[in-house]
Symmetry: C2
Subunit: 306 residues, 2 copies
């Protein structure tokens, strides 16, 4: 028997899936043990506590992606420069080796880096989702967007990531809704329930107005003059920020976009893209597990073992 | 003898100037007693402790501006709709009246409000600086920008504020440099010392790039790949944010701009504007004191008293 433990270990969460030889996800687990909560030297212990029993079964390998491979992570897996695809990742996995106290077979997928507009950019964790989306779509050419704290806009050709750029939209939204003067006008409770009309008007204003620096203040003034209900303002702000992210992109003549991320977020992006005439298709966790499984399979082929 | 105590009581600071009959500033005082630190009902006590001795001199009136006139302030002075100028402010002062325990002669200048791009906008405190700048320039027509936590871009014609809009640039800078992932890359110490080359490159990127949501991430990646010294990054981020603010404005064919605010900030705006071919002239505290003095003088004329 051969099994893969696929892990996405990011800054704020630790998630894993047990995958069989045919690529089927057998079981999933997650723990609130994001990398930022783990001390240097503490990775092995958290790993064993969360996934040790799965790894005890003979024939189980582990492949990880995310911030766990950063300089502050378990073992650093240096960024792969673009263009980068399946073969590049599979051929440059970083073995955890003797930092795994029990000699487990654990490796980390490197992140990717590219240069655009005269500045460097980086990703860690999204590269596996891209591999997964390509496999699920059965294509090597796609425009893939991974919305999140730091959204990644990716151009993929011939199965390889050619270039990408990061938009800090999720972080801007969190800063504005929780730490700015707008926090008084925006209810935290409204984060999950989308007011579609308010969201749409935020997206529309993003494209019509002078930019987020200016538009954001309207969240406060609409509240001040009681021209927007409290429950709608978080959705409106979300529309302003996501709309601003889209405004910074050339959407003219864009074919379908593949969105990969949490359902609630991809739904918002799909809605905003649709309002600009762009069709999209959304993928969730399955893309990450599929990507790690593809990389593992390719690694086995390259190594001539299984 | 007739004296004016001119006060700018904002969210984070309390500043006052004693002005003689001819408009000369005799003395200034400030206290870290911004409105946000004062409890409802505590305004009278803070006022007396800070300025009581000045007000004890017979013939001393007080005129205040800023958030002290907001709903959460000492006494609410409702916003004046644009167009608004000297006569409008002088004719709608809000007397503090019996909320001043000693029966002082204290009044609050109302803020201004306007509607632009389908949304309301507001200011409190900047309106007196506009009045002051116009008097100091000896003109009734100007484009005036008051940079700050919330920058105000103002169009003035025939001595009256026609329209304005707010950009939350100062607040965005503070959020990004202190509370975002970029805080690890930006040194707080560098806030005051401007690295001109780094600032300029930030302004340039703001105009060349895809917008602040995207450009901001380069602060992190330049740090990650050691392509920008730590001491330069705060200036670079400042350039990105101020450049973004300018990008949201139509600067084509703009004549000279009057800047009014803290010296360190107007200097940055003047530099960024100059890089876009826009000439500016800067004013500091003197504009606020001059504005309050002009409004007081006009009030006396309107009331036929002095």
């Amino acid at each position: 028997m051969s099994r893969l433990l696929a892990i996405d270990w990011g800054s704020s969460s630790l998630r894993g899936a047990l995958i069989d030889d045919a690529g089927a996800v057998l079981e999933q687990r997650s723990a609130p043990k994001g990398m930022l909560t783990v001390d240097a030297g503490g990775f092995d212990g958290v790993f064993e506590a969360t996934f040790g029993d799965w790894m005890d079964v003979p024939g189980t390998r582990c492949l990880m992606a995310g911030m766990v491979g950063s300089r502050q992570g378990w073992v650093e897996a240096p960024y792969r420069p673009c263009p980068a695809g399946l073969d590049d990742y599979a051929g440059s996995l970083q073995r955890v080796g003797d930092r795994s106290s029990r000699g487990r077979d654990i490796a980390i997928v490197p992140g990717a880096t590219c240069e655009h507009d005269g500045m460097p950019d980086v990703m860690r964790g999204e590269e596996i989702k891209i591999v997964g989306v390509l496999d699920l779509l059965g294509t090597g050419d796609a425009r893939i967007v991974s919305p999140g704290t730091h959204s990644k806009w990716c151009r993929v050709e011939g199965g390889r990531l050619i270039a990408f750029s990061t938009a800090m939209s999720g972080e801007f939204y969190a800063l504005l809704s929780r730490h700015s003067i707008l926090a008084h006008s925006v209810s935290d409770d409204a984060d999950d329930a989308l007011d579609e009309a308010a969201f749409d008007s935020g997206v529309e204003r993003a494209f019509a107005g002078r930019g987020l620096l200016q538009n954001a203040f309207s969240v406060r003034t609409f509240a001040l003059f009681e021209r927007m209900p409290a429950a709608a303002r978080a959705s409106y702000l979300s529309g302003l920020v996501i709309g601003e992210e889209l405004r910074g992109r050339d959407l003219e003549g864009t074919g379908a976009v593949a969105l990969v991320g949490a359902d609630a977020l991809t739904a918002r992006f799909a809605r905003a893209l649709a309002s600009r005439g762009v069709v999209s298709r959304s993928f969730g966790d399955e893309a990450a597990w599929r990507g790690l499984w593809c990389i593992d399979r390719r690694r086995c082929e390259l190594e001539g073992t299984r």
